[in-house]
Symmetry: C2
Subunit: 111 residues, 2 copies
Amino acid sequence: MTSTIPVEITEHFDRGELVAAIAQDHLSGDVLMVAWMNREALEQTLATGRVTYWSRSRNELWEKGLTSGHTQKLVSASYDCDGDAILLKVDQIGAACHTGERSCFHRNLDL
Amino acid sequence: MTSTIPVEITEHFDRGELVAAIAQDHLSGDVLMVAWMNREALEQTLATGRVTYWSRSRNELWEKGLTSGHTQKLVSASYDCDGDAILLKVDQIGAACHTGERSCFHRNLDL
């Protein structure tokens, strides 16, 4: 494993915390979903280029699209000022949402 | 308070959980920051149109830009399929990040 994870992020992993991961369509700019990463998920994502989250409900690594075919290929990634959120620009194959919608954010709030 | 918050979101508040809130520039599509909301923060945001988060470090409502002037005017909002994340399209005045950068996601990860 040769990828270098900045200390601002690893500090959270060292404390047993997950970081938020936001997947954004690299072409349209649409925000597709939000999920979570632990150290292994981020390392696997950076090493393979296939976005992998940590499933909080199943307590296991979750390579996006491994069963559905709706994979996310990593195009670029950045992290926020306090190191607890990662923004992934992805090439999304098919739907990001398990409902079949392209984005998990497909319902509006009334203002 | 007349805004209607969908039950998928209020379920989380009823359990004492916060929801993630992603602020996205409504013109450029840039993701600006990720923060947290409790019920009051979301209600206040919807009622006033000025984005208000819950500060986990200070344990208080945090109307973005109240002291810095770097306010976020809400343009539209959506929520994700499991109701634990909200996407806010905002009109960002000045910098979203406390560092002075436009976006908190201003540092790249090595792939």
